[in-house]
Every structure is written in structure tokens, then in C-alpha cells.
């Protein structure tokens, strides 16, 4: 009972959130649909990024004004960074611009899969945690890397489900389950690869604390409806985890009590 009460809200570096859905802000058909999708998702956290400001048109400021209307807390990322130096300096720029110590740390190691360079990730995490950042590392489902990220000072881990934007769901449920079991008290968020609400629910049923996704909503035929569908699936998966699932088994087990079975059952015996 204590566990259930303690897990009512998502706790991220001391801040609590009712929703367990973190949503990305990229690739939407229009700014208005982005805003509507955020509202439909009920997400308390929206990921954002940095880009080169081309001119005086203030495109960056237009986005900034729009995203503030959502009322969500912002989680800036270091997307596109491939070295520790790039990631650390981008994190500093994000902290100044968005006025937050939160950083979704990405150090990309491979272009085809966009998988993290976990060696650079751990090093960058160590530097940024020491500098007062609250780091959300985008990582793989590797247990040892997870351990090193925690030792570096991370209080939240964000293992991938599958490559970014792939929509494949949970490529390795076994590894994700092992990660959950090994770090029962660490906040774990599945980040990347989710394509369907059922896949988000699956991650939550494994006991994950939250889901971060972008493409599955933004590129859906109806992003606003899909945001709502994900919100329901994430909540349902979390409720299912708290409720305690049955163990899967190979053979059937009758759900109807056999005691007092009608007489015709006896005819099939002997």
C-alpha cells in the first residue's frame, strides 16, 4: 500500500507530476496542432531543443511563446550532439536560454540507429551533474551503463525502447525488465522507439515510471487524437502494474470453479 501511494505521482529531481507522459514538440503539422496535442496528452513536460537563429525574424521566439502557452515544464535536449564537448556546451546554452537545470542528454554514436555513444554519455553526464545540471540521459537498455550513469549523479534514466522514430516498440523487453528489477528505486523512463499506445502500455506494465515520445504522436494521421490515446494507454499500463499482473503459464487453468460441476462432466472421465 505504501508503494502504491508513493508512486501516485511521477517524481523527477524533486518535482512531482500527475501525468507520466513526456511529449516531444517536433514534426507536428502546425503550431496549433502541436499545442492541441500537448493539451490532449495532459503531459506535464515537453521536450525542446536549440537551433541556429538565422535572422531577425525571431522564429525561435515565436516557438518559445507558443510552447509557454502549454503551461508544461520544458526539458531541453542536446539532440544532434556527437561528442562530449558538443553535448556539454549545448547543455550550458540550453540552461541559460530555457532557465532550467534540466537537460535531456543525448550523445549520438551512430547515424543509422541514432543510438547513444554510451561512453561519451557517461562522461558528459559526470561533467554536467558536477556542474549542477539535473540530467536525463538518453541511453540504451544496458545494465552496466545504467549503473555508471547513476554513479555519475543521474537520478533518472531514459533507456530506449527502439531506435528514435522507428515506431518498433520495445525491441528488448527482457533487458528492460532486467533494468527495472535491478534498479527498483530509480526513476526509469522509456524514451524513443514507441509507435503505438499498446507499446507504451507494455512499458508501463513492466513497471516503468513514464514514457517519452514524439514521432508517434506528431506524425500520426490525427496527432491530437493519438496524444489522447497515448495518455490513456500510459495511465492504463501504470494502473495495471500497480494492480499486480498474474504470472503467464504454458497450460490452461480453468477460471470456472470445478467444484460441483454438473453431471455431464463425469461422462468424459475414465
Amino acid at each position: 500500500m505504501t508503494t502504491v501511494q508513493a508512486s501516485k505521482q511521477l517524481n523527477l529531481y524533486g518535482s512531482e507530476f500527475t501525468s507520466r507522459f513526456l511529449i516531444g514538440s517536433a514534426q507536428y503539422p502546425s503550431p496549433a496542432i502541436l499545442l492541441d496535442a500537448i493539451r490532449a496528452s495532459h503531459a506535464g513536460i515537453v521536450t525542446v531543443s536549440l537551433r541556429r537563429e538565422a535572422g531577425k525574424d525571431g522564429a525561435g521566439q515565436q516557438f518559445w511563446s507558443l510552447i509557454q502557452k502549454s503551461g508544461a515544464r520544458l526539458l531541453p535536449n542536446t539532440a544532434g550532439c556527437k561528442t562530449v564537448k558538443e553535448a556539454v556546451n549545448t547543455a550550458h546554452m540550453a540552461r541559460e536560454l530555457f532557465a532550467t537545470p534540466w537537460i535531456k542528454l543525448e550523445v549520438i554514436g551512430e547515424d543509422d540507429t541514432l543510438q547513444p555513444d554510451v561512453f561519451g554519455l557517461v562522461e558528459a553526464a559526470r561533467i554536467l551533474c558536477a556542474e549542477g545540471f539535473q540530467v536525463f540521459p538518453y541511453t540504451t537498455d544496458d545494465l552496466v551503463v545504467a549503473d555508471k550513469l547513476l554513479a555519475a549523479g543521474c537520478e533518472v534514466l531514459m533507456p530506449w525502447g527502439a531506435p528514435i522514430g522507428s515506431g518498433r516498440g520495445l525491441n528488448n523487453p527482457f533487458a528492460l525488465r532486467a533494468l527495472r528489477a535491478h534498479f527498483p528505486d530509480t526513476t526509469l523512463i522509456v524514451d524513443a522507439g514507441i509507435g503505438l499506445p499498446s507499446q507504451a502500455a507494455q512499458a508501463m506494465e513492466l513497471g516503468y515510471d513514464a514514457i517519452l515520445l514524439n514521432t508517434a504522436v506528431a506524425k500520426a494521421g490525427d496527432p491530437v487524437a493519438m496524444a489522447s490515446a497515448f495518455a490513456q494507454a500510459i495511465a492504463a499500463g501504470h494502473s495495471a502494474f500497480k494492480a499486480g499482473a498474474i504470472e503467464a503459464r504454458d497450460m490452461a487453468a480453468p477460471s470456472t470453479p470445478v467444484l460441483g460441476s454438473p453431471f455431464w462432466h463425469a461422462e468424459h472421465e475414465s
Binding site: 507536428y28 531543443s49 536549440l50 537563429e53 538565422a54 521566439q61 518559445w64 510552447i67 550550458h92
Partner: protein, 65 residues
């Protein structure tokens, strides 16, 4: 003086980063800056001198996943 501004060649007569940011029409607190790959905090821009060929990055918020 020729510098690299956001990845493109750019001629500027402004010797300090803060002056360049202002000359480009950016409000100081609406962008973040780096020179040669290193973050330059807002208060340090006035004292940051630009050199021939240096790489200046001026970044603003954008959507992200």
C-alpha cells in the same frame, strides 16, 4: 573581419560578441552563444573578443523530441 557565423562566412566590424549579437538584431536574453565550440554566458559576451576566422554560434529555442 571575416568570421564563421552559424556555419556560414560572415563579415563583421564588431570586435566583441555582445556587439555582434546586438547588430544582428537579437535581444541579448533571447539567444545563447558559443565561440569556437565553447559556451559564452550572457554576462561574458561583452568581454569576449572575436578573432579572424573564429566560429560563432547563436542559438534560439526550437522544437525537439
Amino acid at each position: 573581419m571575416k568570421i564563421q557565423l552559424n556555419g556560414a562566412s560572415y563579415d563583421t566590424e564588431h570586435p566583441e560578441l555582445a556587439a555582434l549579437v546586438a547588430a544582428l538584431g537579437h535581444e541579448a536574453d533571447k539567444v545563447a552563444t558559443a565561440v569556437d565550440g565553447l559556451f559564452v554566458a550572457r554576462p561574458a559576451r561583452a568581454a569576449t573578443l572575436l578573432r579572424e576566422g573564429c566560429a560563432v554560434e547563436i542559438l534560439a529555442p526550437m522544437e525537439g523530441g
